[in-house]
Each structure stands twice: as C-alpha cells, then as structure tokens.
C-alpha cells in the first residue's frame, strides 16, 4: 500500500509586522510545517505502523529550497521519502489558484499511484481550503473533506467528517481516495533525534514542472493579488492598563458589576 501525504511550509507573521506593497517582508515571517498537514503526516505514519503489509509513505510539497527543512521534519516523523516540486515558473507565480496547485500535485500523484492521499484541510497562511478536493477531482479519486476520524477497512475508508455545531457525519469512501485531515484527529508526534538523523539520509527528489510533463501555462491564472493591508481594528474595547495588580482590580470591578462572585 502507498500513502501520499501533501505538506506545505506555511508562513506565520510576527505579532508586530509591516506590509510592503503586496507582501510581508521576510524579516517578519517565520516558517513552519502547516498545522493541518502535521496531523495528516501523523495519520499517514500511523497507517504504516499499524498495518501488517508494507506501507510506503511519500510526502509531496510545492515549495522553494527553504521548504526542505519542513519536509525533513515530515521525514523525521516517519515519512519514507519526499518529492518537492519547484522551478522558475512556480517561483514567479504570485498567486496560484488552488485548483492549479492541485494540478501540479496531481502530476506527482499520477506518477506515484497511491492508494490513499492525505492532505491538511487548509493551509494556515492563505487558507484556501481547496487543494485536497480539487486534487481528488483531477485524479478521479473519491474524497472526503474535514475528516477527524479515519479507519481503513479493506478497500474502503470509513471516516467521520466534522460538521459545524458539534455534529459529525459518518461516511464511507472507496479507495483510492483523497482525505483532507482536520486538526485533533490524532496527536502528532515530535520528531526524535534518531528520526532527525535518519531523515538526512532519506530520498528527497526535486522536480520541475517540465519533469512532470506540465506546461508552465497550467499556472496562468485569472487571479491577481491587488491589495494587502492590515485589517482596520473594529475594537471599541475599554483597555485597562497598568501593573497586573491594577488591571486585575479593574477586571474585578467589571466582573462583580456583571454579577460574578455574587452569593
């Protein structure tokens, strides 16, 4: 069995940051493995650990050389090998429609021919939440989005989808399938020192769009990033200032006025 897991290195902005033109300068950004993908990696590695048959777990990412640090993290957690897709056309693309990103990943998936693809529900930076389902459609696989429980039973996946308002939907999907993984489905492990050392020796292939038989035109989109700004604060909160003793005293007044602590 082969499990493909899609991972993305995401940027997080610092508490204090600036915007220059249509981007946040590098000095204000920190990079990390996308939180949702961390749960997807864990789910994939657990499948490999829990099944008697041989299971190969392959990670795929679309990202620059810097993102290899993130991929190595997935390798350190038990992913067997990884594929990174990048070239000048991808580097130059300012905004890629999620269905186009899915097209690129689909080319890797077609070559790998996995039984199961696990993908985070969304990326913490651009939050499109669409790549996994678009990927399934490109591959003509079944799918399920926002999965917070997964059991493989023969050639079928029995999943729970987390709907709004504390309701879960129980659904079965035949394999091969793409599942988008919600946080909380498991408890992602930390990479062990031994895992980190082993990850250095694992295979990490770099491919260009050309290697995958894709024309750079697949990235030509109709979306243009036109503006970027900090949202205007809508706050009309009364902010208490001072030492913790002083602010706690102010909070006490508000709480007691609202009836807290009354006998």
């Amino acid at each position: 069995m082969k499990v493909l897991v899609t991972v993305k290195e995401v940027a997080e902005v610092a508490d204090d940051f600036e915007i220059e033109g249509l981007s946040v300068p590098e000095t204000f950004l920190e990079y990390d493995l996308n939180e949702w993908d961390d749960y997807a990696v864990e789910a994939a590695v657990r499948i490999a650990e829990e099944r008697e048959e041989d299971v190969e777990v392959v990670a795929v990412t679309v990202g620059p050389e810097r993102s290899e640090e993130t991929i190595r993290m997935a390798l350190a957690k038990g992913v067997d090998r990884a594929v990174r897709v990048w070239d000048d056309a991808l580097a130059a693309a300012e905004l890629v429609d999620p269905t186009a990103t899915a097209r690129v990943i689909a080319a890797v998936a077609e070559a790998e021919d996995p039984d199961l693809v696990l993908s985070g529900v969304q990326a913490a930076d651009d939050g499109f939440g669409a790549t996994g389902v678009a990927l399934a459609e490109h591959l003509d696989y079944g799918w399920a989005a926002v999965v917070n429980d997964l059991e493989l039973d023969g050639d079928e996946a029995a999943v729970r989808r987390e709907l709004e308002g504390g309701v879960e939907e129980l659904t079965t999907v035949p394999l091969p399938a793409v599942l988008t993984i919600q946080t909380g489905i498991n408890e992602p492990r930390y990479a062990s020192l031994r895992g980190i050392r082993q990850a250095q020796r694992k295979e990490l292939d770099v491919r260009t769009l050309g290697d995958l038989g894709l024309d750079p035109a697949v990235l030509d989109g109709d979306l243009t990033l036109a503006g970027m700004k900090k949202p205007e604060s809508e706050s009309d909160a009364t902010l208490f200032e001072g030492s913790p003793e002083e602010t706690a005293a102010d909070l006490e007044t508000v709480l007691r006025d609202a009836g807290v602590g009354a006998e």
Partner: protein, 317 residues
C-alpha cells in the same frame, strides 16, 4: 455566453436551511445587480419544495429544485451543481465556505475549469470582480482581482446580512442524472455530550493556545472555581486532548451565550468568535494587542495571563 447571472446553492441539514443560505442570497443579489444579471438559487436534496418556499426571498429570479437524496452527499451536489451551471451559464457560482461547501466547491470548479476563490469576506465589482479575503489567521486582508468569467466563489458565513423579505421567484424542478455515487453518508452523530453543558453556563472562563502547557490549565481551573464559572476552551486545547470536546466553543464546537465570557490567551480566530460573540460581556486577556479577540471584546487587558490570573484569583478567593 455569461450575462452577469449568479447561481447560489443553498445549504441545509436535517430538514433545516442553514443561515448561510440566506447570506448567499444577500451576497448573490448584490453581485447580480452589480453585474447586470439575475440571481438563481438551487436547492438539492431533502424536501426541496418546502425548502424552496423558504428560500423565496426578494431579488431571487428563479429557484431550481433537484430532488436527489435526503442529506448532503458531495457526489450528488457536485453533479447537480455542474449540470445546473452548464444549463444556466452564469458568470458566478456562489457557494458557502462551510464544511460541506468545501467538500464540493473545489470539485465543481475543477470540473468546470473555472478559478476558485474561497472564503470571501467581501465582494465588489469594479472593472473586474474584486474579492476580499484574509490571510495569516486574519492578520492580513487581501484583495484579489478576478479576470475570469465564469468564476466560483465561496463566502464566509456571518459576513453578509441574511436576506429576509419574501420574494416571488419562479420555482422549477431541474432533472439531472447524478450517476454512480462513490461516497455513502451513513448517518450523523452529536458529539461533545458530557457532564457539563457550556451552552447553558452563565459565566464562562475560556482558555486558548496562550496557556502553552497542559499543567498550566490548573491555574485557569482555579480561577473558574474562584469565580464560580464554567471552564471552556478554544479548539487547540481540545485538539491537544487537554479538555474534552464538550468544552469547545466555536463553529465546530458549542455556541455559548453567557452573561460574561472571559477569554484567556485566545486570539479570536473567526471560527472561535462564531461560537461566543453572543455573550453579553466579553473580556479578553492576551499579550498581542492586535489579536482579533480585542475587536469584539468589551473590556481587555494586553498582558500575560500568567501575571493577571493569579492576581484575579486572589481577589475572588
């Protein structure tokens, strides 16, 4: 050819239309007007005739009913939406950015080879359609110009006022062959039942990522005891297994409406706010002055919760 028409697909679950359906009508009506077209609404599955009656709001030109299945199944929704789209040829396909919307919108956009812009919080029409979105956990707002026609959009719930005035749309059945279904919905389950029902609580002390370590929860439990309040949490705390699911406030957890909601170390992600914005008084303690929680708070302290909470416990003990 596309002529500025908008097709919005309603969402319902277990017999009830979800509020986002009426928000889609409001957003779609404005958009159709700006584009010089009409708003079409589709309702798929369940009691489509009854649901269509309820969706008949001012500004809706036509409602298309597809009586396939009882509950949401993405194979049915994707097939029906694609067929309707091909038949109506609208300029914009408008879907909810809900769990179910995200379970079929990307498939439909891929099938139709249209670009997809998800999680829109604002829509304007200039020379092109301009979509407002958020990035980096709501810390940055972006605008995206869409040069394509047609385009698929999903809109965030709670950003548009629900359409309320009754309308006189024509309601017509739409026949579609949905083909073989791959996924099978086996049922639903309520989760998060337990010893405490936070939706009934009068005073809530709620804790988020800012608590950092599981051991630190003790401090917040102590405060909840001192205030005689109920302990709740944002998603990361429940994901970590530090508190059970029945304590989770938010879109996928419980909606709470206490007299006082004291948010400790909670940044205020949109999914969390959806579950607690109805509180009478919202108080936030957070180290980040730009945290979105302060946008909806009535009172706030920009400080470390580990400094403020012990002082507060002392005052109430």
């Amino acid at each position: 050819m596309s002529d500025g028409d908008v097709l919005a697909v309603a969402e319902h679950r277990r017999g009830d239309l979800r509020p986002v359906s009426f928000e889609l009508i409001a957003a779609g009506r404005d958009l159709a007007e700006d584009l010089g077209g009409d708003l079409h609404v589709a309702v798929i599955g369940g009691d489509v005739d009854g649901l269509a009656e309820r969706l008949n709001r001012a500004g809706v030109e036509a409602i298309h009913t597809v009586p396939e299945g009882e509950e949401f199944n993405h194979d049915v929704y994707a097939a029906a939406t694609t067929a309707l789209f091909e038949s109506l040829e609208p300029s914009v396909l408008l879907l909810p950015n809900s769990v179910n919307g995200l379970d079929y919108a990307p498939a439909v956009a891929t099938r139709l080879s249209t670009p997809l812009v998800s999680d829109a919080v604002g829509l304007t029409v200039e020379d092109d359609l301009v979509v407002t979105r958020e990035m980096y956990g709501s810390k940055v707002e972006t605008t995206v110009e869409v040069a394509a026609d047609p385009v698929a959009l999903t809109i965030r719930g709670g950003e548009w006022p629900a359409a309320e005035e009754p309308g006189d749309a024509e309601i017509t059945p739409f026949e579609v062959d949905v083909g073989d279904l791959r996924s099978t919905v086996r049922g639903f389950e309520e989760v998060g039942a337990g010893d405490v029902d936070i939706s009934e609580a009068e005073f809530i002390v709620s804790v988020g990522r800012g608590i950092e370590e599981e051991e630190n929860l003790e401090l917040v439990e102590e405060l909840a005891d001192a205030l005689d309040a109920t302990l709740a949490a944002s998603r990361p705390i429940v994901d970590n297994g530090w508190l059970p699911k029945n304590r989770q406030v938010g879109q996928s957890g419980k909606v709470v409406t206490p007299k006082v909601y004291l948010a400790l170390g909670i940044s205020g992600a949109v999914q969390h706010v959806a579950g607690m914005k109805g509180a009478d008084t919202i108080i936030a303690v957070n180290t980040d002055p730009d945290a979105p929680i302060f946008d909806i708070a009535d009172y706030g302290v920009v400080d470390d919760l580990f400094e403020v909470v012990p002082e507060l416990i002392e005052r109430f003990e």
